[in-house]
Amino acid sequence: MVSPLAIVLFFFLVLPIAMIAIVSFWQATEFSIIPAFQFENYEFLFGSPVTYTVFINTFKYAILTWIFTFLIGFTVAYYLAFHIRSLTWQVALFLLCTIPFWTSNIIRMISWIPFLGRNGIANSTLISWGVIDEPLEWLLFSDFSVVLAFVHIYTLFMVVPIFNTMMRIDKSLIEAARDGGANGAQILWNVILPLTKPGIMIGTIFVVTLVMGDFFTVRIMSGSQSANVGRLISNDIALLQYPSASATAIVLLLTVLITIGILLRFVDIRKEL
């Protein structure tokens, strides 16, 4: 018998993706879509230098965001799990981390704009401190602001799973390591890090897929000056080029799947959980 889950997945996951895959072989004029089976969309996609620039850009954002969310997320989770002794405080501080999530993603992102602007708070403060003479132009509408917004929005997705796995680590393992003569750094590297791998991997998958699929953050924070794959797709949709958007979406989907496949090579989440 087909389980309910399979039915749900079929209708809401498999079917839509199959549709996208089919449409990606269709033809489009400016105002209509013609069912066909041709490879023109893919030919154009792979033949255009823009595609490569944009995919490289997408990976660049994903990697940079991953590095920062991992460093911050791991540190926060480590502090919560090992430095805060009482469970009450752990829970309280953990909830504190989630407070920014009570407002919408878009608002949290857009609020950076007046802060980072040419005459924004950051620049005027730095000037009044005498650190800089001229406003820093690269604070806003740059790769810096894009990555900053991503890190701000997605760090929690790293904190939660890492914190979760860290809490499951048997404290006696750490004591044993210490009894065996390991110093703090060695414990971190040889005991805690390997045991938190599944959490790191789950966080990584969240962050990487979210960043690679994004289009709005990149548009707003770069002032429309940079593009990632999501923007390419959204531009196509806006111009009624659904088949071409579908082809790009399929290539993006495969890219993300391959990336996750590679990531899962490092850690077998099922086994470790």
Binding site: E30, F31, S32, F44, S48, P49, V50, T53, V54, N57, I106, I113, P114, G117, R118, N119, G120, E137, L140, F141, R219, S222, G223, S224, Q225, S226, A227, R231, L232, N235, I237, A238, L239, L240, Q241
Partner: protein, 422 residues
């Protein structure tokens, strides 16, 4: 986000109003629409989706208007792919060129349009005055007429079947911050002047942006297009190359896609010179920040909006739609829009709904005698102010090109994507 829906007829206040209007209708005159409770769904670009218009239509006609405001691209998409989702499409003429061939709109019989003869010449013969030259690009009259109610081809003469009834239009130019620039600006080429490095912006809507680019390229003396509104591939490449180089040199602070983005860029001082739309200038000024809609020697880039009827409209709903359009052109709406800084398709009738001072300021380009107040009650100018660019004839007479859809549109769009990703 640029997408929002204004729904009319849901709040308690409007419910009361409807009730009153309906009651008045039954008592005073036989108002057909109030009794049959007709609702028209109007999907359009945000520029003309005002709640005030919907409220007034309700009051005068008893027709409930459900307005959906979308950006140009989304409304194109809606008209082309969801023909049953709207009754009236409030679009621009270049969008009409794109969507008319889908057959989702029906032509209008001009004999049913009471003020047809008073519609500005720009939309009929293409000539504002008998001596005007026709500007380049998708000029409204070139896509304004068709062969019959379900005609698919555009015709170049007044055939009696109109594709869109013109609603509002305007002449666009560059907006500047005179306080931050401190010298006169009189050419389009200033947009790429290295003096404004990192402080310029252009809009990220390809059909409009490419025309602004063309104005700049011609003004720089780099190239003179035989027809800016219909470039060849080589011309598109050349235009994009000039702007891509400027982008790589850091000329642009940002690109904008929605109206409010352009207001924020200008008001915050991130940008001092950019492509802009007239009400955005008003919005910046409304914050007490100096901003000028700078008339330039090379002329204006113009756009025009119009309403089209959905192909599916018939019977009472179709009659109501005609009634609504006749009402739209009868003056109240025109006066309302003129006070926003737009022009109405039938200026004559709008005059009846404006004070002499308002008419003098907005239409004739005369110095204002008293305060000029926007329809929302905001004081825009004091006494003694003159509209940027002067009178209707001065501004609309200096149109160099119209927003366009080119034969090489798909190629242009691809190149535009490259420009954004560069």
């Amino acid at each position: 986000m640029t997408l929002y829906t204004k729904r009319h007829g849901l709040s308690r206040r409007t419910m009361l109003k409807t009730g009153v209007a309906a009651a008045a209708g039954t008592l005073a005159a036989p108002m057909v629409w109030a009794q049959s409770n007709i609702t028209l769904r109007q999907a359009g670009t945000g520029v003309s989706a005002f709640n005030e218009i919907a409220a007034k239509a309700q009051e005068d006609l008893g027709i409930t208007l459900e307005m959906t405001a979308l950006d140009s691209d989304s409304v194109t998409q809606r008209v082309a792919t969801q023909p049953d989702s709207f009754d009236i499409a409030d679009i621009e003429y270049w969008i009409c060129k794109k969507v008319w061939p889908t057959g989702n709109l029906q032509a209008m019989d001009t004999s049913k349009i009471a003020n047809y003869d008073k519609i500005a010449g720009t939309f009929r013969s293409g000539k504002l005055t008998p001596t005007s030259e026709i500007a380049q690009g998708t000029a409204p009259h070139t896509v304004g007429f068709t062969t019959g109610v379900d005609g698919k081809e555009f015709v170049q003469e007044e055939s009696g079947w109109m594709t869109l009834i013109p609603t509002i239009y305007n002449a666009d130019t560059l907006g500047i911050r005179p306080d931050l620039i401190g010298r006169p600006i009189s050419n389009w080429s200033e947009l790429l002047n290295p003096e404004f490095k990192g402080k310029a912006s252009i809009l990220d809507i390809s059909s409009i942006g490419i025309m602004d680019m063309a104005m700049v390229v011609e003004s720089m003396g780099e190239y003179t297009y035989p027809d800016k509104g219909n470039m060849t591939r080589e011309e598109i490449d050349l235009t994009m190359a000039i702007f891509t180089e400027a982008k790589k040199n850091g000329q642009f602070r940002a690109f904008w896609k929605s109206f409010d983005e352009s207001v924020n860029l200008m008001a915050s001082g991130e940008v001092v010179i950019q492509s802009m739309w007239s009400p955005a200038i008003t919005a910046v000024r409304g914050q007490g920040i100096p901003c000028v809609y700078q008339p330039l020697e090379e002329g204006y880039r113009s756009w025009g909006g119009g309403m089209g009827l959905a192909a599916s409209l018939e019977g009472a709903k179709l009659d109501a739609a005609y009634e609504y359009i006749n009402w739209y052109l009868s003056g109240w709406v025109g006066g309302f829009l003129m006070r926003q800084g737009y022009y109405s398709a039938v200026p004559e009738t709008s005059k009846l709904f404006m004070s002499d001072d308002e008419w003098g300021f907005w239409y004739e380009g005369k110095e204002s005698m008293g305060e000029i107040v926007s329809p929302s009650g905001q004081t825009l100018e004091g006494a003694g102010a003159v509209r940027d660019g002067g009178s209707f004839i001065d501004r609309m007479g200096a149109v160099a090109c119209w927003n366009s859809v080119m034969d090489e549109n798909q190629y242009m769009v691809r190149k535009w994507n490259e420009f954004i990703a560069a």
